[in-house]
């Protein structure tokens, strides 16, 4: 039991930090431009694939730097020549543009690297069990993932709060026009933020690629959860995204370990609910079976009860 709790906590925090790496970029982009980048998970996937391709020539470690930079450049170009042209047609058009972009990236990845998973390996340096607890080993690579996520968070925080560029970005988050009148090149700031946001997503991809399977479906599997995190945390709040990522990571990981269903709880009182009753399947489904659905329930509840998200300050 204790073993389960410890490992689930570790895995939950790990999953949460991975989500945060992705959500931080998305939050920055949303706060800046008001557009929810549907293609954010696709940039994550691109990062993993670029990292894989680089690892085939020079190994894993150079990919950790090169892949995010490359994807960041791609993102900046997309913003400059794509998003900016669509901006004048409104938020809906921007959202739809990123929607089409996600489509194209997924198809392009399938064309270039094939439809099956690719063999993105954990680097030899980290391919050992970090520690053993109650006969279960915990791989060192996962600890590395955790460390990288925390380091990135700290770097981002200090960048935003302690540097000049960070201050300008924070100002442009809430008062883009005023910042423009002060003489700063706001479109350039936008382009940089979009590029950095995509680069962060790519970094998450390079980190997660070897641990999770690198395949064309990886964007679609993480995409909806990402939106849940950003919206539950509060659109525009980095701290909220942090809290929400950890919460959802932990909830999902712990939920999988729980084998209780509503029918079991009712059974404690002595009543029986079998599968043939009305919605019997629902009462008999264990928490573990519905675990992936819980974030969406949370999303709907939060949006009804606390529309700005946990810590958000912007409405739409």
């Amino acid at each position: 039991m204790l073993e389960l709790v410890i490992f689930s906590s570790l895995n939950g925090i790990l999953y949460g930090m991975l989500l945060f790496l992705l959500a931080s970029g998305l939050t920055l982009i949303f706060s800046m431009m008001g557009v929810l980048n549907f293609a954010h998970a696709s940039f994550y996937m691109l990062g993993a694939y670029f990292g894989y391709q680089i690892s085939r020539y020079v190994g894993y470690w150079p990919g950790l730097v090169i892949a995010p930079v490359l994807v960041g450049l791609v993102g900046a170009l997309v913003e400059r020549y794509g998003l900016r042209a669509v901006h004048k047609h409104g938020h809906v058009a921007e959202l739809l543009f990123t929607f089409g972009l996600a489509f194209i990236i997924e198809e392009g990845v399938q064309m270039i690297w094939g439809k099956l998973a690719v063999d993105y390996r954990v680097p030899e340096l980290l391919n050992f069990p970090a520690f053993t607890l109650f006969e279960t080993t915990y791989p060192a690579f996962k600890l590395f993932m955790l460390l990288m996520s925390v380091a990135t968070f700290l770097a981002l925080l200090s960048l935003l709060t302690k540097t000049r560029v960070g201050l300008i970005i924070q100002a442009a988050l809430s008062h883009p026009h005023t910042v423009g009148t002060l003489g700063h090149n706001v479109p350039l700031v936008f382009m940089m933020v979009f590029g950095v946001g995509c680069g962060l997503a790519a970094l998450a991809g390079v980190i997660a690629g070897p641990a999770l399977v690198t395949q064309p479906a990886m964007a679609a599997s993480l995409g909806p959860i990402l939106f849940v995190v950003v919206v539950v945390g509060g659109l525009g709040s980095l701290a909220g995204a942090f809290v929400a990522s950890l919460a959802i990571g932990l909830i999902q990981t712990f939920a999988v370990a729980v084998n209780v269903s509503i029918a079991d709880v009712i059974g404690l009182v002595g009543l029986k609910v079998d599968s043939n009753a009305f919605a019997g399947d629902l009462w008999n489904a264990t928490v573990a079976q519905v675990a992936p659905v819980i974030p969406y329930l949370l999303l709907v509840l939060v949006l009804i009860l606390r529309p700005h998200g946990l810590m958000g300050n912007r409405d739409s």
């Binding site: 073993e3 389960l4 490992f7 689930s8 895995n11 999953y15 399938q110 094939g114 439809k115 099956l116 998973a117 063999d119 390996r121 069990p129 053993t132 006969e135 279960t136 080993t137 915990y138 791989p139 996962k142 641990a211 999770l212 399977v213 395949q215 064309p216 479906a217 599997s221 993480l222 990981t253 712990f254 999988v256 370990a257 573990a288 079976q289 519905v290 675990a291 992936p292 659905v293």
Partner: protein
């Protein structure tokens, strides 16, 4: 001059009649040819094409008629499958084959039954080579549906017959995907283990959402906590790869009995985990079941269609299907679906391994020898250039794989 013209016309008419009589017998292959599942769909199409080319090279059927396969992309969904089947029927094709996805298979079988009922004289046959939902040969069975892949219950019967002989297996954990297939695997496993090895303790029974889990470590933690020495799972695709990865990461010491560890991409995942000869699969064949005719056939396929990844032949059952189909046409002396169906109905056939397989007339299931094999080092042929290949650890003869059926199909008059 008039004579010349007349003989020329006669010659043209004769040639036209001759070519008309030589019209190709077409098979429609309805499977995903685009999107995420297309890797499997496209490889299946290549195998079908090669099998048919081999038949045509030997002279075709009925003394010279050639076979032809036409691919139709069903994009993996049941609704689109129906659109494509209708297109095939419009193009004059009377034989449909499909295998990827029981959802699409059930839709096609239903559609074909209704179509044949509403259009007597224009019947169409449906050859199922891989959709394993048991209902297709039980409560949803149809005279016009023929299945060459052992359904998931038959596979479990064979697997449990093998487990019966392995006294070292004491605690079994069942894990699967939460949909019809995973549920039927779990149900059959519980039933059959209970009958054949009541001493085995089923220490855990888990269904997880299909293709949604990215981190299986909580499940592995549960398996570890239960003390299981063997795990039975029907998982396929990324669910299989991620499950095995999590197991290797956590250092889980258990044997894995699977249905689809041989599927595209799975051997690569197994190799990455380093679980040497601890992952087993149940199948009707694998590349290291050596027989001269099959080996020669495989090498020829690899050379022509292997592609840059050296993808080998996967489905012995596809070869069985085409061989039995061509023999049935020759036996019936006609390519009319109704006549061919009457022959296929209870056909016996010697396959490329030299072993006899048979079609059961009650439900149109083919029964064949089943192989339990483990993936690891030291085999003649390897999978997906990993250096690891399949090694047979047990053979269950066809007669021992037969299970009862509830099918009440009615043969047409």
């Amino acid at each position: 001059m008039k004579n010349l013209l007349r003989s020329a016309l006669a010659g043209v008419a004769f040639l036209a009649a001759a070519f008309g009589a030589q019209a190709q017998i077409k098979i429609a292959y309805v499977d995903p040819l685009s999107g995420l599942q297309s890797a499997v769909g496209e490889h299946g199409l290549k195998q079908l094409q090669f099998a048919i080319e081999t038949v045509n090279a030997k002279g075709g059927v009925l003394g010279g008629q050639k076979l032809e396969v036409v691919g139709y992309d069903n994009k993996g969904t049941p609704q689109e499958s129906l659109v494509q089947v209708q297109k095939a029927i419009d193009a004059g094709i009377r034989y449909i084959t499909q295998g990827n996805g029981s959802g699409a298979a059930i839709a096609i079988s239903d559609f074909v039954s209704k179509y044949n009922e509403r259009n007597p004289g224009k019947e169409v046959l449906y050859f199922n080579y891989a959709a394993v939902d048991p209902s297709l040969t039980n409560d949803k069975c149809s005279y016009w549906h023929f299945r060459w892949d052992a359904n998931s219950d038959i596979k479990m019967a064979a697997l449990t017959n093998y487990i019966k002989t392995k006294s070292a297996i004491k605690k079994v954990y069942i894990i699967g995907q939460d949909y019809a297939f995973g549920q039927s695997v779990r149900k059959a496993a519980r039933e059959m283990l209970g009958q054949k090895r009541p001493d085995i303790q089923i220490v855990g029974d888990e269904l997880h959402p299909l293709a949604k889990i990215t981190d299986f470590s909580p499940y592995i933690a549960k398996i570890k906590a239960s003390g299981a020495d063997s795990v039975i799972t029907g998982n396929w695709g990324s669910d299989m790869a991620l499950l095995l990865k999590a197991a290797a990461d956590a250092g889980l010491q258990a044997d894995w009995y699977t249905y689809y560890a041989g599927g595209a991409g799975a051997p690569t995942a197994v190799r990455q985990t380093g679980l040497d000869h601890r992952v087993f699969q149940i199948s009707e064949w694998h590349t290291n079941v050596i027989a001269p005719e099959m080996e020669a056939f495989e090498e020829a396929f690899l050379k022509k269609y292997g592609g840059p990844n050296g993808q080998r032949w996967w489905y012995l059952r596809l070869k069985n299907q085409i061989d039995m189909f061509t023999n049935a046409i020759n036996q019936a002396k006609s390519a009319e679906p109704k006549a061919v169906a009457a022959v296929l109905h209870n056909m016996r056939h010697k396959n490329a391994l030299g072993v006899e397989i048979f079609m059961r007339p009650t439900d149109h299931s083919v029964f064949q020898d089943m192989y339990i094999s483990s993936l690891g080092s030291g085999t003649k042929y390897d999978e997906e250039k990993t250096g690891w290949g399949w090694k047979t650890v047990g053979v269950i003869p066809a007669a021992d794989t037969v299970i009862p059926t509830t099918c009440q199909m009615k043969a047409p008059t």
